[in-house]
Symmetry: C2
Subunit: 183 residues, 2 copies
Amino acid sequence: MSLEYTLLGCLDVGPMTGYDLKKMLDDTTLFFWHAELSQIYPALKQLEKRKLIASQTQPQDGKPDKKIHSITPQGREHLRAWLSEPLDSVPPVKNPALLKLFFSGGLPKEEILDQLRCQLAVQRAQLKRLQLDIPARMQSAPLAGAARPRLMWELARRYGEAQAEMTIRWLEEAIESVEKEVG
Amino acid sequence: MSLEYTLLGCLDVGPMTGYDLKKMLDDTTLFFWHAELSQIYPALKQLEKRKLIASQTQPQDGKPDKKIHSITPQGREHLRAWLSEPLDSVPPVKNPALLKLFFSGGLPKEEILDQLRCQLAVQRAQLKRLQLDIPARMQSAPLAGAARPRLMWELARRYGEAQAEMTIRWLEEAIESVEKEVG
DNA sequence: CAAGGCATGTAAATCGTTACATGATTTA
DNA sequence: TAAATCATGTAACGATTTACATGCCTTG
């Protein structure tokens, strides 16, 4: 259900093709939302049928024609209604790394530590990406100029950064706890 | 795919019914993993067909017969193989709260603040649950006695706690940033 | 000359939620 | 007396992923 609003939210920034939408998601929301092209194209068709977006076709040669989608006034209204709706519960989370750790009590100590060290490397790489790549990509994304959207984007990025930093601290402490443990 | 390992991981602790498995998940892993009964029952059937678990039926009256599932040696081996497999990428995350904020740049300042304050209340409640309810439930969960599993469970709980604390700090700062903002 | 970007999609399969169906016992 | 707990499941729907299909142009 959120994919619908994700696409409307992106198109609220400016007209785009399905391919552009995928790139925009990968460049800006990847660390808190993602979607495949095979999911985006049918969703766009459905949004058009509901008159929440409109499209115009731009002929090309050598490539399939470009279909440029734009949000309609009804679409903008629909998006706005969703944005105003309060989110009053903790979103359901699925964290396979934590799940694995949770069941790893029976493993040899060294294997648990290997797993935790691997996660630590992954998270440190992720933090670097959030501090270097993402800001650059957000800068170059369409209409990043307006003050208010830029603040929102920066807040989202800061969340990702804080999340990665927190996870790194937690992993460092977890490694210590497991190392110290008797048995 | 992870549901399969989740069930094996739980049954590695001791034999249980589908209903018990659901309760165990709700009591211990809820803040990083969950599943519905309608998903658990078919998954158990499939695991039994693959000889990774076995079941025995206990007649009852007034209620459907209990089906008590237990992990087989092959099942234990299967679980172990999964646990040893390194997780070398950032798990894909979906955070609808962050998604909404990301697109809220066009909303009146006060509406953004309402949304953030609502999230703050939700997260404070979540933190309390992680500090009070979850430890109590983990204590009463089957075989919580063994030292190594208990350490893993405590590490998972600490992650949830750190996550909630981080989110609260982030929301407090986000509210300040939006309040201060001109326009 | 292989890989990746550009540009569209469809089809099949899997994963997950919500609703339905049954029915006794216990608790508020 | 209504709701929750115990206990099993199925069916329908919706969301998501993976694989398939096409084909040119650019970059390394």
